[in-house]
Every structure is written in C-alpha cells, then in structure tokens.
Symmetry: T
Subunit: 150 residues, 12 copies
Amino acid sequence: MTPLKILVLHGPNLNLLGRREPEIYGSITLDQVNAALEARAAKLGAVIDSFQSNHEGELIDCIQTASALYQGILINPAAFTHYSYALREALAAAGLSLVEVHLSNIFAREAFRSHSVVSPVAAGVICGFGINSYLLGLEALVQVIGVGGK
Amino acid sequence: MTPLKILVLHGPNLNLLGRREPEIYGSITLDQVNAALEARAAKLGAVIDSFQSNHEGELIDCIQTASALYQGILINPAAFTHYSYALREALAAAGLSLVEVHLSNIFAREAFRSHSVVSPVAAGVICGFGINSYLLGLEALVQVIGVGGK
Amino acid sequence: MTPLKILVLHGPNLNLLGRREPEIYGSITLDQVNAALEARAAKLGAVIDSFQSNHEGELIDCIQTASALYQGILINPAAFTHYSYALREALAAAGLSLVEVHLSNIFAREAFRSHSVVSPVAAGVICGFGINSYLLGLEALVQVIGVGGK
Amino acid sequence: MTPLKILVLHGPNLNLLGRREPEIYGSITLDQVNAALEARAAKLGAVIDSFQSNHEGELIDCIQTASALYQGILINPAAFTHYSYALREALAAAGLSLVEVHLSNIFAREAFRSHSVVSPVAAGVICGFGINSYLLGLEALVQVIGVGGK
Amino acid sequence: MTPLKILVLHGPNLNLLGRREPEIYGSITLDQVNAALEARAAKLGAVIDSFQSNHEGELIDCIQTASALYQGILINPAAFTHYSYALREALAAAGLSLVEVHLSNIFAREAFRSHSVVSPVAAGVICGFGINSYLLGLEALVQVIGVGGK
Amino acid sequence: MTPLKILVLHGPNLNLLGRREPEIYGSITLDQVNAALEARAAKLGAVIDSFQSNHEGELIDCIQTASALYQGILINPAAFTHYSYALREALAAAGLSLVEVHLSNIFAREAFRSHSVVSPVAAGVICGFGINSYLLGLEALVQVIGVGGK
Amino acid sequence: MTPLKILVLHGPNLNLLGRREPEIYGSITLDQVNAALEARAAKLGAVIDSFQSNHEGELIDCIQTASALYQGILINPAAFTHYSYALREALAAAGLSLVEVHLSNIFAREAFRSHSVVSPVAAGVICGFGINSYLLGLEALVQVIGVGGK
Amino acid sequence: MTPLKILVLHGPNLNLLGRREPEIYGSITLDQVNAALEARAAKLGAVIDSFQSNHEGELIDCIQTASALYQGILINPAAFTHYSYALREALAAAGLSLVEVHLSNIFAREAFRSHSVVSPVAAGVICGFGINSYLLGLEALVQVIGVGGK
Amino acid sequence: MTPLKILVLHGPNLNLLGRREPEIYGSITLDQVNAALEARAAKLGAVIDSFQSNHEGELIDCIQTASALYQGILINPAAFTHYSYALREALAAAGLSLVEVHLSNIFAREAFRSHSVVSPVAAGVICGFGINSYLLGLEALVQVIGVGGK
Amino acid sequence: MTPLKILVLHGPNLNLLGRREPEIYGSITLDQVNAALEARAAKLGAVIDSFQSNHEGELIDCIQTASALYQGILINPAAFTHYSYALREALAAAGLSLVEVHLSNIFAREAFRSHSVVSPVAAGVICGFGINSYLLGLEALVQVIGVGGK
Amino acid sequence: MTPLKILVLHGPNLNLLGRREPEIYGSITLDQVNAALEARAAKLGAVIDSFQSNHEGELIDCIQTASALYQGILINPAAFTHYSYALREALAAAGLSLVEVHLSNIFAREAFRSHSVVSPVAAGVICGFGINSYLLGLEALVQVIGVGGK
Amino acid sequence: MTPLKILVLHGPNLNLLGRREPEIYGSITLDQVNAALEARAAKLGAVIDSFQSNHEGELIDCIQTASALYQGILINPAAFTHYSYALREALAAAGLSLVEVHLSNIFAREAFRSHSVVSPVAAGVICGFGINSYLLGLEALVQVIGVGGK
C-alpha cells in the first residue's frame, strides 16, 4: 500500500530547538524531532518530509507545492501563529488535512500567545507536550486523513 | 509493574454523545469512548476510571478524591470550559498531571468557545480530532506523568 | 387528540417567588404560576410538567430526559441566563422547540442582565410581563410546535 | 365598556412584509398582520390603529399625538431598534404603556441586532415568533395597561 | 446697524417641552424658550429664526439654506446628538459659527448621553442650565461671530 | 436591446457638492456627477435615474420601489454609511445588485468613517477617487448585473 | 440575651484548606477555621453554623433556608465569586446582613480574581488576611447586624 | 441686598494664561479673566474671590473652606479635569452650586480631553468660548443658585 | 514590651468626615475615628500616629519617613485610591506591612470606584463597615506584622 | 506620447488564483488577470509590469525600486493587508500614486478582513468585483496620476 | 561661550533612590545621579540644576519658572508618568526642549507602566539603562537643543 | 584588549534613509549612520557589523548566527516593531544584550506606533533623537554589556 505522505513544517526559530530557552522548549533538537517523527510515521504507514524556515514566504512557497505531493500538513507555526494571515491563507488554500502543534502550553504563558490566526483553518490543535505534541499531532493527522477530514 | 491510574472526566451533556448534534460531535457514544480509552490505556500500561456528570459540584467532589488514587486526569470540561473557575481550582488543587481535550476544534466555532478557563492549569490541550482527541490526550498524559510533569 | 406535552423549567431562586424582592418580581408564588400555566395549557390543548431547581446539574439532567417525553420546553433560566453554557448546550441538544421567558424586563436593569447565553438557541424570548411572560410564552411555544419550528 | 385604544407602530421596511427575505420574515403581509391584530384586539376588548413608516420623523410625530388618544403602544421598531434614540425619547415622553416586538429572534442573528436602544423604556419585549410576536405583544400590552403599568 | 441673524434649531421631541418628563426638562414650553431667545437676541443686537423638527432630514434641509441667510446657528440636537452624523455633516458644511446646547447635564445621566457626534464641529458646548443653556449659548454665539470664529 | 436600468442614490448633504468643503470633496457639482454618469451609462448600454435626499425615509421609500424598475443600485450613502441600518435593510430587501461608492478615501480620515453598515450587503465598494468613484462604480455595477451577481 | 445566629458559608474547594496550595492559602484546615470562628462568636455573643459545598445549588438551597434561622451570613464564595450570579441572587433574596471574605488578597493575583459578582450585594468585603479575614468578617458582621444594616 | 459670594477656581497652568500656547488659549491673562469676572459679577449682584493653583491639594483645601463662605463655585479644572477624583470629591462634598468651564472646546481636541471626572457632579458645563466661557459660566451659576440648584 | 508603632493615613477630604455626605460616610468625625483607633491600639499593644492630607505629596513625604519609625501602615487612600500611582510607589517602597481600608463598600457604588491602584501592594483590603473598617483594619495589621507579613 | 508606467503588485497566495477556493476568488488565473490588465492598460495609454510574491521582503524590495521607474502602483496586498506595516511603509515611502484592490468584498467576510493597514496611505480602495476590481483600479490609478494625486 | 543651562527634574519617590527596591532601581543614590549628570554636563558644555519633589504642584511651579532660565528639561516623571496631565501641560507650555528618561525598562514590567502621558510632548524617550538613562538623556538633550528642536 | 563586537540591525525601508519622508526621518543616509556608529564604536572600544534587510526572515537568520560572534545587538526594527513576534523570539533566543532604537518619537505619531512587541525583550529603548538615537543606543549597549546585563 502506498504510504501517506505528510509535510511537516516548522516555523521561525525552531531550528534553534535544544539551544533556545531550554527551560521552556527542552533540550531536544529539531533533527531529533524530525527523526522521531520519521520513526513514528513509519509505524503509521506514512512518510514525512520536513521543512523549517525563518521566512514566512518560504513556508508559503512550500505549502503551495504541497497539494500535489502530500495528503496532510503538520505545522508548528511558532511566532507566525499570532499574526501571519498569509500563512493561514496558504494553508487554507492547500486544501489538505491540517494539524497545528505547539511545544509549550500557549494558554499558560503571555496573553499574546493565546490567540492563533491559524487554528480556525486547522482540523485540530495540540499543545503543551513538548516533542510529544508533534508525535500526537502526526497520529491525529493520519487519522484525520483516513476519514477524509480537512 | 503497577499500572498508572488515570481519571477520565467528562463534563456536562457528554452522556448524550452519539445522539447530540452528531454533525458536530459524531455518532460514537460515551461508552464507546470509554471502551476505546480502556483499550488504549491497557497498551500504555495504565488503567482508567471514567466519570461523567452534568453537575459541576459532582465533578469537583470527584477531583478532590483523585489525588490519593490517580497519577493524572484527562478531562473534557465541555461547556464548563468557558466559565467554571471552581472546576479549574479543583483541578489545580489536585496537583496531578492534567490534560484537557475537546472533540471539536473549539477555535473554529462560536467566539465564546475560544476561551478556556481550564487551559492555564493544564499541561497541554488537544482539540478537533473527535474520539481521537481523547486517545491522543491519554497518550500525552501518560508521557507527562512519566517525566513528572504537572 | 393527544395533547401536546410541555416541560416548564424554572431556574435558581424562582422557588422563592412571591417572597423574594416583591417590588421587582411581584407577589405571585411559583405554585400560582404553575397553576396558571396548567389552566392556560388546558385551553391550548396541552399539558405541562414543571420543575424548579437551584442546581444547574439537575436542570440539565431533567432536560436530557425531555426529548422522549415532551414536544417543547418553556424556560425561565433566572440567573443561569447570564453564564450557564452547560444549560444552553443541554437545551440545544434536546432538539425541542424552546421559548425563554423572564418576569422582569432584563434590558431595563443592571448591565449584566442584558446578555443571555440561552437566547441564541431559543425560538424566541419574552420578558417584562410578570406571570404573563410565562402565559404568553406558553402560547408562543404551542404555536412554534404547531408549525414545526425549533 | 369603552374599548382600550392601542396604537400599533411598524418601523422601516415592514411595509414589504411577505415580499422581503421571506426565509427570515415569512410570507404574511403587513395587512394580514394588522387584520390579525384587529381580530385579536376585538377578543381583548380593544381597538387598534396601525401606522407604518420608513421615516423616523413620521413615527415620532405619530407617537407625540398618541398620549391623548391611546392607552398603549405596540411597536416593532425594525432597524430603528439599533440606533434611533429619537424614537426612544418619543416613546418615553408619551408616557403610555409600551411593548416592543420583533418577528425574528434578534439574539440569534448578526451581533448588531442584539442591542436595542428602545428596550430600556418598554414594559417588556417579545421576539422570535413571527406574526405571533405581535399577537402575544398585544395581549401583554392589554394586561400591562390593566394593571396600570408603564 | 444690521442685526446679526441667528438660526435656532431644536431637535426631536423638543416640541413637547414643558409636557415631557418635566422633572428632567422643566415646565417651560418651547414657545417660551423661543420668546426668551428673541428677547435676549434683541438686547444683543440680533434676531433669531427658530425651527423645530422630529425629522433629521428637515433639519438638514433647513441647515443647508442657512449659509446665505444667517451668521450663526444655535442648536439643541436632542437625541440626534448621539448618532446623527448626517446632521453633523450638514452643520460642518454650513460653515457658520455653531454653538451646541443641552437643557440637562448630559454628563450626569445615562452613559450613552455623554457622547456627542456634533461637538467636534461646534465652537463650544453648554449644558445643564435648563432654558439658560439656550440664553447663554446665544450670548456665546454672538461673541463667537463677533470675533469671526467658526 | 433593452438598456439596463440603474438607480443612482445620493445620501445627505451631497446636494451641496461643489460648494461643501471643496478641499475634501472637490468642486464638481451633483448635477455634473449625474451628467457624467448618464454619459458613461450610455456607453455601457444603460440608463440611470438619480435621486438625492437628506431624508433617510425618502431614500428608503425610493429603494422600495426600485425592485420592479431597475436592475441595480449605485449608492453613495454619505453620512448614513455609518449608522443607517434602516437604509441597509431596504437595500438588502430590494434584492438588486448593489455597489457602494464614496468620493473620499474613508479609511484615511476620522476613525468613525472607517465603518460602513452598508458594505456587508453590497457586491463591492469603491472609495477615494472623487467623481471617478461613481463612474467606476457604475462600470462595476453593470458588470455585476451582467454576471447575475447581487 | 439570645445570641445572634450567623450562617458561615464556604465555597468550592475550601474543604481542601490546609492541603491545597498552602503557599497561597496557608496550612490551617477548614475545621480549624470553623473552630476559631466558634470561639470568636462566643466572645461576640453569637453562635455560628457553618456549611461548605462544592455544589452551587447546595449553597443556594442552604441560603434560602437562612432567612428564618439567622441574622446574618458570612461567606467566602471562593471560585463562585467570579461568576455565580445564582449565588448572588440567593444572597440578595435572603435579605440578611452579608459579609464577603477571602483568604488571599484577590487584587494582587490573576486579573480574573479582581471581579466579584457577589460584592455589590454585600455590606462589605475583607480579603488578604488568611483565617483572620474570617474572624474580622465575623466581627464586622455582628456590628452590621447591630446597627440594622443589610 | 447681600451680594452672592462666588468662588472662582483656576486649575494648573492657568496662571500662564496669555503666555501659554496662545494659538489655543488666546492672549488674555488670568488677571484679565478675573477682572472681567469681577465686573460681570458686579452687574449680577455678586462678588467673586478667585484662586489659582498648580497644587491639587491647595485647590481641595480651598474648596473645603468654601461651604461657609460662598454660595457657588465656578471652576476651570484644567488638566485635573481628566483624572483628579480627589478634586471631584471635594467639590461634591462642598454641597455648593457648581459650574465647570473650559476655554477651548475639549471635544474637538485629543481624545483624552473628552472625558471629565468633574462633570457628573456639576450643574452644567460650558466650553469652547475662551474668556466668555467664564463669563457665561458665572451667569449660569448665579441663575442656578437663584433657583436653589446644586 | 515595646508597643508596635502604626502609622494611620487618611486621604483627601477625609478631614470632612461627619460633615460630608453623611448618608454615605456616616456622622462620625475624623477625630472620633482617630480616638477609636487609639483606644483599639492600646488593647492590641500598639500605638498609632495619624495623619490626614489633601495633598498627595504630603502623604508621600510622610510615608517616606515611616520606614524608620513604624512597623505598619493603615491607609484609607480615599479618592487617591483610583489613580495615585505615586502614592502606591511610596507605599511599596516603604517596605512595611500595609492594610487598605474604605468606609463604604466601593464595589456597590460608581464603576470607577471598583478599581484601586493601591490594593496590589497591600497585604489586604477591608471596606464597607464605616469606622469599623478602620478598627478591623488595625487588628488585621497588627496580626500581619506579628507573622512578619508585608 | 510616452505611456504611463504602472507597477502591479500581487500579494501572497495570489499565484494560486483560479485554483484556490474558486467559490470565493473565481476561476480566472493570475496570468489572465495580468493579460487583462495589459490590454486595459494599452487602451488607457499605459503599460504595466506585474510582480507576485509570497515574500513580504521581495514586495518591499520591488516597491523601493519603483519610484524611479513608474508613475503609480496598483496593489492587491492579499493577506498582508491586515498586518504588514512594513509593506505600508514601503508604499508610503515610494511617493507614487497608489490604488488598493481586493477580489472579494472584504467587508462581507470574517471580521479580521475589514481592517487594512494599507488603506490610509492609498488614494482609494476598490473591492468586491473579482478581476474587475483590478481593471477598475487601473482606470482609477491612471486618472489619479493624471490629476497629480498621490 | 555661555554654557547651556539644563533643568533636571526627578519625580516622586526618586529621593529614595538607592534604598528603594534596589533589585529594580539599583543602589546608586539620587545625589550620585546628580553628581554624574554634573560631570557629564561639564564635558558637554552645559550646567544643570536639579530638583526632586513628591509634589506634582511643586514640579509644575518649578517648570513654569524654567522658560526664562533654561534651554532644556531632562525629566524622570516616575509615577507621574502614567497620569499627570497637569505635569504634561506644564512641560508643553514651557516651550523648552524636553527629554524623558526612566531607570527601568517600563515596557518589560506591569502593563500600566507602558503608557506615558508625557511622551507625546517630549522630543524623545530613553529607558532601561539605570543611571545611564539619565546620562544618555542629557547628551540627547544637548544635541536636541543644538539643532533647535523642541 | 579585544574590542566588543556589536551587531547593528536595521529593519525594513531603512535603506531608504535620507530619501524617504525626510521631514520625519531627516536627510542622513544609512551609510552615514553606519559610519557614525563605527566612529563612536571606536571611541568606546568596540567594533560593529551592520546589516539591513526588508526581509523579516533574513534578519532572523542573521540574529541566529549572532550569539557566537557578538556580545550585543543594537536594533531599529522599523515597521517590524509593531507585529513581528518572530523577530522578537529570535532576539530573545539570541541571549545577547539588546537595545532598541527609533529615529522618531514613536509616541508622538499614529497610535499603532506606540506599541512595540520587541521592547519587552530589550534592556532598554531610545527614541526620538534621529541619528543620535543610534549613537546613544550604542553607548547604552556597551554599558549594558559591561555590567553583564541582558
């Protein structure tokens, strides 16, 4: 059976994972996150491609090519969560199943972090579990795709 | 090895699951949710007790007894999400690991649903994946307990 | 012809009617309200069951059993009007015709009374006419049921 | 016994009733509303005069003459509901019993419709029951006049 | 010397003065207000024409003709104070000296009365002194015209 | 081929065009605007009737007769833009194609001008181009009618 | 002399006192609070009955019986402070002298804690002094009753 | 006949009048204002004492002594208008007739100037007429005292 | 044993106590308040110095000298409660135990009175009990000092 | 005669035009939009260069070079409309005539779309007419340039 | 060459510098700040006079005398920053070059500290650098005076 | 001694300095700013590298490499000041001393300019002094680094 193809997107500053404010974001690096996602994907009959950028435009470019190549997108929009309507529009336009994840519990930090412009176009949201937010998000996404959800 | 003991709490009207507005909440019943959680718990080396109530006070009473009996709480506060500071206080006082889940994507519905008074005292939040929100939430909770998180 | 069956619900503190702040709520007791409703129902080819509680959970429990037994609900949510999303959800889930009534004109008192979380799921709202709010609400409800409205 | 004299006022665009957005406002015409009100008034020992205008000033002029001629006013302010403080002042100055009605449930539509500048000077409000809002409002008004209420 | 010509405008419901809510607005009638203004004008070397209307459009029509005939406008916009941007625009377009008056202290009543859409285009505002608000406003206006103020 | 029939509506104070605050609104008169619209209409295979009023009610009366006579409405609501829900309702009820225009850029002036209660029921909005706002609006309207848009 | 009878009410989660977040609420238990209140009451010529519940409805039921049995109510509404209009209504309806107390200084914590829906119907409020808030509140209440205050 | 005694108070920076931002406040000095007030007072059968201070406390001290010595207060609170609740309380406590004046039209300047904490305790407000605001305010005050108004 | 030394501060207009709006503030004078505080202090093993001023700066000067002389401050900030951040800073800088009291229930009056800029730096707050607010506040303060609280 | 040179800018995701949410944005592609603009430009004596980017920075770079090469800019900022102050600054700095267009009526969609940070620096705005918004915008821009407007 | 004369103003509680909350404000005293400013002034060809007061009125009195004596003002308004419109008006009226400084980063503390009523009338603002805020502010001020800025 | 290494970052449109709106931003070019910074740095025992970009992503990329190479960052975020949480996160993650500067007084211009999302993660802020804001900011930064501040 052809495996599901999933695009994993990491927003700005996530390339610093493991080095940046480890008391909040932990000591796991982005490479380790991606490796863990690949392993979990394998168990779920899926393969992932992952992409990180500090450039809103590069993320949008990447999303625009995703429709033809992937069945779903797993995204941690990082700081773009709070203002990038352009990212939101790209995700909505892609027409793929979409799951939004965050490493930390964004509702238990500064007020500005509680508002996501991306959430209204996602199937669901997972936050607060560190790397596990990604892994659970991948499971959720595979399930959403399986039932034909957006 | 002693299995983890997890308390699963379902807020008001969730006993109607499967019959209530199935276009939003799906056709799975609460018994089926609990059965699925039990099965998943078994795989994770955990056992669950589940409790549903339409009474804020009964949920609080139940939470107050949980400290001595459980290592974590998985809760779908349903409509209490938006105003029950009493529930929040009970959960905070319990001092257990806490994961909040919702069947639907509460950020893609009416404005009042976007605000949770519970989230700031939870380890993390998962929403939008139907019954899978519960199952992923259970996985997340087991992991949170494993690392000693609150 | 089988009479319509209507559930009449009275929210918190309405059991005090006639004794509580009579300059606002009048001197008629809840028993008298129910008796007047029964008499009016008889004229309209309907029968009523009435229930009062100070417990949000008891009202929700009662509403959940109503679907199978009644064709409509007449409710004065009293103070729950302003915050009980749980009550609103129960009413919405019941799928019955629903009319909301208030003894006093809630728009001519303190600001917090002008907002009802119940109104958006009701067919209509009547307020300001004392016991007559109930009687007119009953008439309206019978009519709404007659035309198959929610 | 001298019948009560009631002034029925219809705000802007209500002359289009039956033709305008019938999915919201139904197919009954304003003449039919007035005829039904006349019939109901007869049963209640009252007579009505009705007046519709798209001109705020004409409604105010009409209200100013009402004190000497009527015992009460039944009004559907239509779109003036949301901003016409001038209409509100005229109604308050008339010193007659006043009931406000709306065909649709104004609390279940766009946000701007939930705020009425007229309600604070009315005895009570009825909305959501189509033509029945008028008929119930007439009954309520007759009762309010009977007990000497404003 | 040619007397100054002043247009005095009275907004909606002011024709009821003396009969309407006398505990707020006093027992003096609009005719008496106008007579007092005429007398005061005579002392100030001015003549007045006064106009009252419940129709926003009639007031605007009147204001539009004022440029050629008058040197200043004294207005009590009554309820139009709070929302009639059309009146404001007409007054601004007239290019005449403008003084706004109110019988009662609009800052010591309901919150909605504290905001005037007219004030930003007036030379000044006087409120709270009953009929004296008009008389002082007339004195102020004559002075404003005298120094060529708008 | 029968020409399209278009109703052009001008809100309050627009009869002063050319004389009123020319630094904002220019020196072209309303007659010149109408003449230019007639000429442009001829090129587009349409004829126009134009109507200006300072009376909200007259504009509504006029709109109510438009359904049977016209295929579209071009409106500059002027100051009514910001509060006349009655005008909005009349336009929505007419069921014709609708284009809203403004002479000045309402988004580059006082804050209150940025909100239009009419825009949500229009096909589109054009502002900032002086008389050209009208001419472009007419072109847009003819096109909207051509594709059967509202 | 007959001692004053005072009802002491403790809101949700206060049964956990001494065990719950002791860094905020201290290590004294609710039994110790009640014992201290009884001792202080004895000195003041009063006797107390105390009642704690996590159920809003039980507190309301209890308050409704209080009118006939007590001269005053001392309440720590805990989390109900911030949203329970039903509790507020019950307290207002009881018609007894009322004092509201809080263990912690609610104005020096999270923003949501600064707003009490109960305070407007109390004689006074005391917060920030731990168990002493209760004892001082009892003294205040006895004094309020003594001067016939509400 | 004993002349009325009026206290005239000038708030902070008004001692600079004539030198400070003359394009807004004009070139008349505070001494000239006081002289003009004295002259006008003489005509009205009154005498004035005037006091200016940049110290909120000195103004309050002065107001506190006024009850026994004066029948009314004429105040330009200047910048204290917008925040000095202490000044407001002193004025309210004085129990004298009170008129508030401003040289400029505070509603046509920066937003913060539109809100006065003093106005709700004044009989009326006059603004926008330069020195004439004071003179008209004095006339208004004498009239208010004459009818026993506060 | 050396008695505790307590500084009692009274904000603006409190020197008028007993004469100012007695229906709100009662008929007891400030001297009587101070005498009652001295008597109560004696019972508590403390002595007080009291100081009243209408001058924010004098209160701050006084507070600045308090660190070396007193163990705690009891303050009724009166109208400074709502805006004097300078007073708050002085109190915070003093580093002494601090209790804030109000004669009336500030939560049952005008909206602006519900917000205190001082409360966040106090140990606790007592309001609504007239002179008893002071006496209870003194007891609370002695207790706070006793346990080394701020 | 030298043709006018116009820069046409398309914001993020507009390269997807025709494929993205066609029920909102139609089935015309961006190439077709550009071709239609070129044809219309030719009729108007102008030539266009068009540029689309998902990168805010690339659009800004492009705008910075525009001053020397073009007489005007026609822009559809897409999602950048709502937050890109950097784009706004670049457009303001360019000092060229500027027209803002949108395919859909941004005032009849989600609330966040009603606010444009670009509009205050544009000459005018056109929205709601699909590709015609562009074509009319081009006409408007040519006219604006012709009269030397910004 | 005549040295520049600069007035340095320190707001309330700054006389406590070095003793007050040293973890925020450091251990340097106000005398040391003034000495450092004198030294820096000497290098810049300027002399300073410094003045601290806890009295808003004394600061205003001082500023009013400054026009004739100084070329610029360097001010740390301390807590007056957030509400003293009287201070702002005095500074604006002085007509001198003005620089505002703060020891701490007011944008990284409580929300109320982020708003300054003084900043809009200053040439510039410097905060966050402890005593260095003053020294840099002095340099900036000398430069502003040098180029004739306000 | 090894000189300090400082990274100077200029946000979008600052490459236009000297040509863009010189009435606000002056006529000095960015090259001149950088040259002046280099000269000042030399005096302070530091060297600078400067980087300007209109691309948020490029600035973030640059900041991410800065930790290893520099001891501090001096940034003028230009328009990114108001919304780029991504930039803020990058700066916070860098862990270097940070000073924010602005050429103009952002508090004396449009309201949106008063809010900076960057300030809470900076050591301090300097604005309003043209090029001098940069030079003073560099001095401040060197001092901050010297005392080991962030």
